[in-house]
Point group: C2
Chain length 238, copies 2
Amino acid sequence: MSTVLSIPASSQPLTIGMLLYPGFTLLDLAGPQAALGLHGRTLLFWKTLEQVPTDSGISVNPTHTFADAPDALDVLFVPGGMGTNEAMLDPEVVEFLARLGQRARYVTSVCTGSLLLGMAGLLDGYRAATHWAAYEALEALGVTSAPDRVVADRNRITGGGGTAGIDFGLTLLAELRGDDVAKITQLLMEYDPHPPFNTGHPRVAGELLTQAARAALGEDLILNITKIASARHTRIEI
Amino acid sequence: MSTVLSIPASSQPLTIGMLLYPGFTLLDLAGPQAALGLHGRTLLFWKTLEQVPTDSGISVNPTHTFADAPDALDVLFVPGGMGTNEAMLDPEVVEFLARLGQRARYVTSVCTGSLLLGMAGLLDGYRAATHWAAYEALEALGVTSAPDRVVADRNRITGGGGTAGIDFGLTLLAELRGDDVAKITQLLMEYDPHPPFNTGHPRVAGELLTQAARAALGEDLILNITKIASARHTRIEI
């Protein structure tokens, strides 16, 4: 076996810090964590060490409080979820991200996690991805929203909605550890997708399905998150 | 908007029971849960209500003990992970699955979770999927191993390695709720995959990468899980 193709055990393990918050989506975090976590240590941050509920009845346990979070992260990561809107209004969360984001090697997110990065000012002057229902909210934060699966703009690497976290994680891993390591990791994760339908983005799903999906999310939620995003500049400029 | 394309809120919510065990892979559970969990209630089973560590430093909290698990599940689901081998040797886990599997409407798994179903006798006479590194172990259990992304054989629906859980979850959802609901859910999850490489299965990754991935998993682990699987029949027949 070529040594080029082994996962070099001698590499410095990555330090990956992930934000938890009530109502995050488990898959948003699990996808990137599966790709990156094999190559380092995953730290999970919340205000306390109490369990944090996801948006679907599962709860996950933080490993570090905001106060105990180490400064030097290879990757700062923020998942999205139905609770993003409330987290955007929580100054403790936004200030924590702003503080860690200044020092992390990569500042990253999946899904509506980019709205939290934007709220913390970490995407000012950057292009970023988000869930398709949140393009408008991201623009309202003053961030250039790109309808892409993964967007890399200098050290800001962001993924689209939910499942984009797997593509995001492997893309970031390739940048951190090289293509061979990312290819082996993709094989370990058996990431050879066969979606049962071709409806994963409004671009391919069409108008009718997109309307139904927006209704399932709730138009109020979508409006509300855009309103919260718009208020960022109001508050800062006043 | 056509009412045909809305997610019918009046449907009876699904009851989805998922096994936790030390060393399961978070993504194996998070993928299916993202697809199915939107349409019902997710119950997480373990011996106690103590937190259960995944195979990557994250821990998740059970909602029910084995003793408290309800009989009537729409879906019984088992994730895979680096801890599958130990769970296969745990009679309490195997007997719990055998008991619930007899009554669940669908008996399902992703990745090496099918080895646990097989150990519980729930795949005798069925075709099933598993992680590519575990085809041999599944055969050793007396189960017909299929190298497919998702395998449906009567009410046994099983997915391949890790990321196959998303394809599995949406496939099962289509069976339970119809294609329209599954299509909308795929759109909500933005499941429009763009893998950075084409190396997600030995079939496409080739020999060299597959050898490297096997080495990263550990040949000992692969051998050991096959040995545990082979011992099932020895124990039962003696």
